[in-house]
Amino acid sequence: MFSSPTVRTSFIFLAIALVGLLFADIAITASNPWRDLGNFFLGVVTPNFFSSEGLLTALLRTVAFAFVGVALGGIAGFLLALVYRSLPVRIFCAFVRAIHELFWALIFLQFFGFHPLTGVLAIAIPYAGIFAKVYSEILEEADPEPGRALPPGTGNITAFLYSRIPDCWVKMRTYTAYRLECGLRSSAILGFVGLPTLGFYLEASFSQGLYSDAGAMLILFYVLIATMPLWVRPKLLPLYLLGAPFFLGDGLPIVWGNVQRFFTEDIVPAPLRYGEGLTGLMPWLTDLVVNEALPGIWNTIVLTQIALVATGILSLLAFPLISNHFGGPLRRNAGHVALVIARSTPEYILAYILLQLWGPSMLPAVVALALHNGGIIGHLIGRQTNSIKLRPDAVTGFSRYSWELVPRVYRSFLAFLFYRWEIIMRETAILGILGIYTLGFYVDSAIQNIRFDRAMVLILVTALLNIGVDALGRYIRRKLALQTMPTC
């Protein structure tokens, strides 16, 4: 078994995670975590939909920010996809998508303040980078034959519209719809930094112990996402897109002086700002790297590796829940609901809730990341097993799982897992804002202390770390010859 490279790779990652556990801060520090968890679940089963009129507004704002942000990101991403061959464009896209929506929001908050533009750009910019990459991959996969059969002298635009777009249309539409769902999650968590979306009200209800209000919000959010196929219809889309900008709220006006100050003063490293020159810059940078960047990077990597392996284990345990090869329709439907809830809940919200209940440590983050990502991968793998036809006399039960199914889906399972590696790291970094000592923690503290120069350097470090893991993940996938589709 160990001669197979996929198995060897799996055990190497498992070993890394186990070593990581020795260093990780895994604990439940709350005085009475199980009572709090019980109260929370009691809140979810006794939701209070009528506590404040703010709830519906928050829902509306969440949808509006998602639509405007994803639409702008989609348009920009499509245009970038057309010139994606150019190396500077690829580097630019990799860079903007390596920075999490919440980091973008934190940056824009500093100079646009609580203006709708902050939330819209925080979604649109990283999404443009993601769209550019995926759209260009889809366009590249289009069948080249029709293009060759076109009459010579056909204009470029006409050729593109007739021979490329139709072939890619369905895939692009599916991916964009999936991104809209992600956009709703992103939009919801923007509330945690103060924008008027669901996260804001969730945090408010939680901090006051109003679990029934928080439960109502979560339920409405699941319903919103689960019913997307019903209300996101091609015919209604223009209506939504034209209407959404009017429902972003007014926020506060932009003070252009702040914008100027941010770029000309705030983000200039302090030693340079105060005229200490390069001699002052070195100690400043050393201090930043030794005391913040390195501990942040270390914690981010440790947490990422543990969360990655936990995600993998959970996915392998979860996929039978929706697989046709086990149990009856009743259990499968229940499995579907469980996995939809797991993947619809933004990991940030899950981590926030668990952190409130269990107290600060890496444990809530690991569980949140594993639940969310394990839900996604488990769902994809489960669906894949449904297309597998077993011989009529195949074994049943656990042997069927371990002999017939896992060996068949293991490669695509690993492909999805390595694909999500970078996503998990991006999330791990951002969870620092909640008080876990990953890079996000140091970014957030620097911003709290109005030291934007340090925050910008740390965000840059985070982006480079993400780009590095993305490259490593792609290298491993290529080495093991693992294929994935982009929609994961």
Partner: protein
């Protein structure tokens, strides 16, 4: 232009020469059938000729080059994309003009598939897809036809009526055919390809099927 004189045609695959060097002169009015066993280089030769004469030819490639997501109408309309402005083509993509609709419809009628005008190409059978590619070449309305096994997926009567149509609509043509009977019946000149070289070049009036068999 409807005839052409090509020399020095060569093609290599994986460093191995599969065609030529050979020369081929096609006079206006020639209806050439390329015959030879599979792998002899017929498709490669069609491709080489197409690269040389490009603008004035209607092409039916072996893999058809059909856009699956577009309707039959749009696939046929693609034959004249170069004759219209970009805005015209773009509007046609969303809502075709009545004149074009009528024209394409008439063309499909001659191929016996009018009822399929708005069917996406993805849901057509192999024979129907081939007829869409033929309709596109007819719609293109060039003076020269370059076709690679254009009737391979059609049944006998349909193959004959399509070959008649192609013979009547194009004054000059080069058609790769594995069916020797069709080649003799619908073409005026038979060019036999063997090991990437021309092994036979005769008016079809001088030949009977058994004269060609040595190629296979």
């Amino acid at each position: 232009m409807s005839g052409f004189d090509l020399s020095g045609l060569t093609a290599s695959f994986n460093g191995k020469r599969v065609i030529g060097p050979l020369s081929l002169t096609v006079h206006p009015g020639d209806k050439v059938a390329l015959v030879g066993k599979s792998g002899a280089g017929k498709s490669t030769l069609i491709r080489l000729i197409h690269e040389r004469v490009n603008r004035d030819s209607s092409l039916i490639p072996q893999d058809l080059g059909i856009v699956n997501a577009l309707s039959v109408f749009h696939n046929v309309f693609m034959g004249q994309l170069d004759k219209h402005a970009t805005w015209y083509n773009t509007i046609t993509l969303a809502r075709p003009f009545a004149r074009d609709r009528a024209e394409v419809n008439a063309l499909l009628k001659s191929l016996g598939m009018t009822e399929k005008l708005w069917t996406p190409a993805a849901s057509l059978s192999g024979g129907q897809r081939q007829r869409v590619a033929i309709a596109r070449a007819l719609y293109r309305n060039a003076s020269v036809l370059l076709a690679d096994e254009p009737v391979s997926a059609l049944d006998g009567p349909m193959a004959n009526s399509v070959m008649t149509l192609l013979r009547d609509r194009f004054s000059t043509s080069v058609i790769a055919l594995h069916d020797v009977e069709l080649a003799l019946n619908y073409c005026t000149r038979i060019v036999g390809i063997q090991d990437g070289q021309i092994a036979l070049d005769q008016p079809s009036a001088n030949l009977v099927a058994s004269d060609i068999m040595f190629l296979y």
